[in-house]
Symmetry: C2
Subunit: 471 residues, 2 copies
């Protein structure tokens, strides 16, 4: 609980209605999209502008009170769980599109802006903001920036990082900094913009962002290819890239996912397939048609059993449903769904999926795998039950081996979900002791009293590696 004096100070800044510490508000902000994590904050605060954020930070920094910046809390790494209590700062009142600059192809937005609302708005202006995390109808741009969110279009268009070109942010001490701008190029000092993107609320509170927009593709085509052999699907992924075709979307669903999705959405998917690839290409009509023809030939050369190319937008939508409904379909099967995002070089997709299946069998847990094959970013998803301690223990052991396998294949523990609490114990596996030390020193330099989202990114203790390095 906040001291009465601090409470009064915060109310004086944001007003009585925007500083809540009733039990309902605290419980509502005690968890996020991540299963099995919960911790009550001491208060929830809703700032209206940068000045209020700055004033709040001055109070909290002086009092050494943790502050957890938060949008809609859709993250899957425990990134916004107030693990050490403190104040959850919800950015939903700062949700405006301040400007869309049609001459410079940039937008200036506030962090609490809903992602889907923003992408729809710029599409109506004939522009395109590519990052499309699965949570986009709920998530906020600020949350996307904090986590460096990816999405289905990441392969061709990159992730949130590639579209943030300027930031306004409030430091732990309340100072306001501005980085970058409406500038396609800026090398004036260290790249604080890219450093803040993906820093998970541990370095500063983002209060404004300048985003890069791009011309929308004129034409799009969607196809599915189904394989009895997982390796055929994986080789198709590699061959497409090797043939210098970069599709907008190149997703994979494994057999377990196919079964679950079909049971959920009645798509009539062939249940004996080991893998389905969902492929989309966009751009000018001629080049899209050419790419789709080349991709079809590659699929055939790798013994795809069945290839469907959508002939209409409706049909494309139907094909996309298979991939889009994956998480929802999986989530309804068992009480607890744990979705991970181990990432490997894209040439290692087949190796990784086979490793995941081997590990799942070993630990007797159900893991379905789908994800962004083109980026090597897989989502092994465990269907389990948080109330079954023994099973959860096995799930955790399995994921530990999955992270280990990803690292051994030259990959990483997280491609787009962030470290948060969930992967903090494994960070050292990816970046080493010296890497952790450097990152901790950066954290210390931004936030000497460790009030910004404490307990995230850095674990008290790193997990020991259990498996020998197969790299």
């Amino acid at each position: 609980m906040l001291q009465p004096e601090v409470r009064r100070e915060l109310i004086a800044i944001v007003g009585e209605s925007y500083m809540k510490d009733d039990m309902q508000s605290l419980v509502t902000h005690s968890y996020d999209g991540t299963p099995m994590l919960q911790s009550l904050p001491d208060a929830v605060i809703y700032p209206y502008n940068t000045q209020q954020v700055s004033e709040v930070m001055k109070v909290l920094n002086r009092q050494r009170i943790p502050v957890i910046g938060r949008g809609s809390g859709t993250n899957l790494c425990g990134g916004t769980v107030p693990i050490q209590g403190g104040v959850v700062m919800v950015m939903h009142r700062m949700n405006q599109i301040l400007e869309v600059d049609l001459e410079n192809l940039t937008a200036l937005v506030q962090p609490g802006l809903n992602t889907k609302h923003f992408t729809t708005h710029v599409e109506q202006l004939g522009l395109f903001y590519p990052p499309d995390p699965s949570s986009m109808s709920i998530s906020t741009i600020g949350g996307n920036i904090a986590e460096c969110s990816g999405g289905l279009r990441g392969l061709k268009y990159g992730t949130t990082k590639d579209y943030v070109i300027g930031l306004e942010a409030v430091l732990a001490n309340g100072d306001i900094i501005r980085t970058g701008g409406k500038l396609m190029k800026d090398v004036a000092g260290y790249d604080l913009t890219k450093l803040l993107v993906g820093s998970e609320g541990t370095l500063a509170i983002i209060t404004e962002a300048t985003l890069k927009l791009v011309p929308p593709p004129k034409y799009k085509k969607t196809m599915l290819a189904m394989y009895k052999d997982l390796n055929g699907a994986a080789r198709t992924v590699s061959k497409i890239i090797e043939n210098l075709i970069i599709p907008a979307t190149l997703e994979i669903l494994d057999n377990s996912t196919i079964r679950v999705v079909d049971a959920f959405a009645n798509l009539g998917l062939p249940l004996h397939m080991e893998a389905i690839l969902l492929i989309e290409q966009d751009g000018d009509m001629e080049s899209v048609e050419r790419d789709i023809a080349s991709i079809t030939a590659i699929c055939n050369s790798e013994q795809a059993e069945q290839i469907s190319v959508a002939e209409s937008a409706e049909e494309a939508e139907r094909l996309l449903t298979a991939r889009r409904s994956a998480f929802t379909a999986l989530a309804r099967l068992r009480p607890t769904t744990i979705l991970e995002d181990a990432t490997v070089p894209r040439s290692k997709i087949a190796d990784m999926i086979m490793e995941i299946n081997r590990i799942a069998a070993k630990h007797q847990v159900q893991i379905c795998t789908f994800g962004h094959a083109g980026d090597g970013n897989l989502h092994p998803t465990a269907l389990t039950d948080a109330r079954n301690a023994d099973e959860i223990h096995r799930v955790e052991a399995a994921f530990e081996e999955i992270f280990e396998a990803a690292i051994s294949l030259g990959g990483t523990i997280t491609g787009e979900h962030g470290v948060g609490m969930v992967k903090a114990p494994f960070l050292e596996w990816k970046i080493g002791k010296s890497g952790i030390e450097v990152m901790k020193a950066i954290k210390q330099s931004f936030d000497p009293f460790n009030i910004l989202n404490p307990g995230k990114v850095f674990a008290k203790e790193s997990r020991k590696r259990v498996v020998i390095d197969r790299g």
Copy 2:
């Protein structure tokens, strides 16, 4: 001069032939591509591998001896001038392409690798590494990474930062860190990769880089458009982008540059034109032809006096000569050429060129302007004489006002050349006091004894702003 004991230690690490402190070696490494800056180092060292770099760093860190990492020294910001003496570490022996991975479209290279050699090598393999700084036939990849080099293709393809996806680097204390990898996505902790790119040798010595390669464009078309009215040229730039066409190259030459280039290269350019735009588009044939037709229509609508579209590769080459020879042409006119890179939002190109001309007239100095109009990245270039103290003083005053003007237009003091020594006094104008404090804290956290390229990026004293803010 190094103490004999330190000297012996360094020789023990790299061998007698690769630790030089004869006067010729010292003088050769006392300057870089930047005019009017020179300072002797105490020694020049040529490490052969990461292990040697690490061992050298341990010695230098213990002894608090400055170390200036260096490739070919083509930078224009005094970035590799050993302003506080110490050891210049030349990376030319670490110049190998260690791997080109055709499946993942990545390359693993050493920092001393020549940029042109690398781009040619990957082109021969049917791949494309877009960053093309003007110095690329001399520069190294390590130098490009240190400065985050741009180039003519930046508008469509981005700069060096967009292609570095993994690094190996040696910290001040000799520790070796590895960031990123052959991964299109990686959010495991803070983005050290992007932080090191453009950090100008002040945070670590880069010893290996994983670079992203892309499919080469299949087709290319080049055109020139000439204008009697500078505003017409500038409006053309804005209109092209507003029409959602992103050309591969979109360069501008002002009247002073046109005159000088024509005198140098005998291109028969019309000397009464106020501006020439050089435009290149690449991609699939159909879309390139369509874009070039749309661009031509835009040029006509803005009263371009003359438009030439190259009908052959040779003709394209001839058109490109006008832009490519700009620096060389300017450099031979007067003893000293000072080339800057103030950058503004691309909608402000005309305002900025007019400001530059006004400022040049006010200070009675000759400034020719050319550059990357599409990114708003201009190169105002002063033709002067370092021996004429009074004129140099006026040139410096003019550039100070030019930086001020760029900032006031929402721009930055450097788009692609870096801060180094030259722009350090102006950095605060762009990023503010708090921005400087954050960057200094980051520097301190990487390099507590300030041995990595000391005296760069951060000035002893920031320059006072002389002009009122017109933003």
